[in-house]
């Protein structure tokens, strides 16, 4: 069965956990800008972590369900309702045929990820269902959702069918994901960074400025990256031959305004890399919207790894708890 798009909002795309293995062809890894959020939402509705969901940017979305599904969402501070009833982030809810879901403009943050049991069933292109807006493939015809699009859904997996039974008649689950994963957006985000490859090419004042000053997100913000405004950051040395870059890389073009790269970024870049946002803080980066003010805090690589491994252990525990609940 399917979802009918009544209003697609500002920019809504189909995304999954990304497209690995094609960087040599210049193809971005892409996928949900907060891969943790989509993974957790998928688990909560009984899907595999790799199922495709819907990434919502700045809300304005109205969808209608054609059959019974377990759904949930994670992301910024959005007002999300099913049939007029508010939905908390990270808490599974049962929808019935004809139910309408609305997502309003967020109070805090920028994006939300909606998981639907069965997943969005668009063709897999280069190993992923994610929409690559720049190269125009994947998702729904390589584009953002439009009014009257119909998203086909996969069949409800066994676990989801059990959840559908378990969620009658209350419709809302008694369990939920930790708020720090389901709703990570904050008013004054502090992103932890580690040194970039060209850290020492930047003058000491610029390095200090990155870690002391507040930067403002400019309107140049999309799935490829976020341009920041703040004290100009200066570096010495010649242009570099382009090198691989990754989500989280903070590169600084000659203008001195840093650009924080997100998962749809180019595979290579020639601007000096001042720093990298660590993986566990990419969910905060995915919530930055124009006008937001952001600060950076330096950590070492070993600390970034420690935090990432701890997050992974917590996720494994959470997954286990969800599985035991269904027994």
């Amino acid at each position: 069965m399917s979802i009918h798009v009544l209003s697609p909002g500002f920019l809504t795309t189909v995304q999954d956990n990304g497209r690995g293995g094609y960087r040599n062809a210049g193809v971005a890894s892409g996928g949900a800008l907060d891969s943790y959020a989509l993974k957790i939402a998928n688990w909560l509705v009984g899907n595999d972590a790799s199922a495709a969901g819907v990434e919502v940017t700045l809300g304005g979305v109205r969808l209608r369900f054609a059959d019974a599904r377990v759904i949930t969402w994670c992301g910024g501070k959005f007002d999300v309702r099913v049939g007029g009833t508010p939905m908390s982030p990270g808490r599974p809810v049962l929808t019935r045929a004809g139910d309408e879901l609305t997502i309003q403009r967020p109070e805090i943050g920028c994006r939300a990820w909606l998981a639907i049991s069965g997943g969005v069933d668009v063709p897999s292109v280069l190993g992923s269902r994610s929409t690559d807006l720049r190269a125009k493939f994947g998702g729904v015809e390589g584009r953002a959702l439009q009014p009257n699009d119909v998203l086909q859904l996969g069949p409800n997996p066994q676990r989801s069918r059990e959840l559908i039974v378990a969620l009658e008649p209350a419709r809302e689950a008694s369990w939920f994901a930790p708020p720090e994963w389901a709703a990570p957006a904050t008013r004054a985000p502090v992103l932890r960074v580690m040194r970039g490859g060209e850290w020492l090419r930047f003058d000491p004042a610029s390095r200090e400025a990155l870690l002391r000053e507040t930067f403002t997100v400019t309107p140049h913000a999309d799935r490829m990256g976020v341009r920041l405004e703040g004290p100009a950051l200066h570096h010495r040395g010649d242009e570099l031959p382009s090198e691989p870059v990754a989500a989280g890389t903070i590169q600084v073009p000659p203008s001195g305004e840093p650009i924080l790269l997100l998962p749809d970024c180019q595979t290579i870049g020639g601007y000096p890399k001042l720093a990298h946002v660590i993986t566990v803080d990419l969910p905060l980066a995915a919530q930055l919207r124009p006008g937001d003010r952001v600060r950076f805090e330096l950590v070492r690589l070993a600390e970034a790894h420690r935090l990432l491994l701890r997050r992974e252990r917590q996720l494994a525990m959470f997954r286990l708890a969800l599985k035991m609940r269904s027994k």
Binding site: V27, E243, I278
Partner: protein
């Protein structure tokens, strides 16, 4: 010679590292490809993707899967495995050399409608447009890397007379197939995108097609030549454009 001394390894965030070759030249593609091949062959546990760009090789990894031993940190353990895989680098075993590959020919129509900046390039080089076309078709190029957009090849080997600084203001949309010059490099816009390179023609070949395997027509190390075709040939080719590599792959 100690191969380890010739390369530098540094983190690219917490889930990738960059192997920097001590190379003076942007054209030393074979060495970069040798490093990438050795790393692929080593099949280091936790490594998810290996990619090249000009003088660097990036190794993407999943920190949760990297094998860590003793009191060493995660990155040190991974770096040791990368260095060990590259110990063979100095033995000179050929991995893939330029000479044993066939040259991929790219047909290009240099007519006015497609050669948006041909007169600018000609003026900059103090040449007639026909001379620019002849020079562009005379050289053999190598794909230094693929990036910028999916399937976009950066080509080394541009005759030096044709080097032209990028346009002062980039175009909002350069059509797919546009054959272009940016500084000392040549390239081909594989998909329609914004761009600041000088467009001197268009090919009917599809540089990037997700329905094809591989999707990108060109990859790093490939040898490329351009061949001048007429507008009529261009339209005929565009009408039935099943690129050569797709056929070659299908025949394998």
């Amino acid at each position: 010679m100690n191969a380890g001394a010739q390369i530098a390894i540094r983190p690219l965030g917490d889930s990738a590292l960059i192997v920097q070759l001590n190379s003076e030249s942007l054209d030393d593609i074979d060495e970069v490809l040798r490093v990438a091949r050795l790393l692929e062959r080593a099949a280091i546990v936790g490594v998810t993707e290996i990619t090249t760009a000009f003088t660097t090789v990036a190794v993407f990894y999943d920190p949760t899967r990297v094998v860590v031993g003793g009191n060493e940190g995660l990155f040190d353990c991974l770096e040791a495995q990368v260095r060990s895989a590259l110990a063979q680098l100095s033995t000179g075993e050929p991995v893939r050399s330029a000479s044993d590959q066939e040259v991929i020919e790219i047909p290009v129509c240099y007519d006015h409608g497609y050669a948006l900046d041909l007169t600018d390039v000609a003026a900059h080089a103090s040449l007639a447009p026909a001379e620019v076309i002849a020079l562009h078709c005379s050289a053999e190029y190598r794909v230094a890397t693929v990036g910028f957009t999916p399937g976009f090849p950066y080509l080394s080997g541009l005759p030096s007379q044709l080097a032209t600084p990028r346009r002062a203001s980039p175009r909002a949309a350069v059509p797919a197939g546009s054959v272009a010059i940016g500084g000392r490099q040549a390239g081909i816009y594989a998909v329609s995108s914004p761009g600041g390179w000088h467009v001197i023609g268009r090919t009917s070949m599809q540089l990037f097609d997700v329905t094809r395997n591989p999707a990108a027509l060109l990859r790093a190390g490939d040898r490329v030549r351009f061949r001048c075709i007429t507008a009529a040939e261009f339209h005929a080719a565009a009408a039935d454009s099943l690129p050569e590599r797709a056929q070659a792959t299908a025949n394998k």
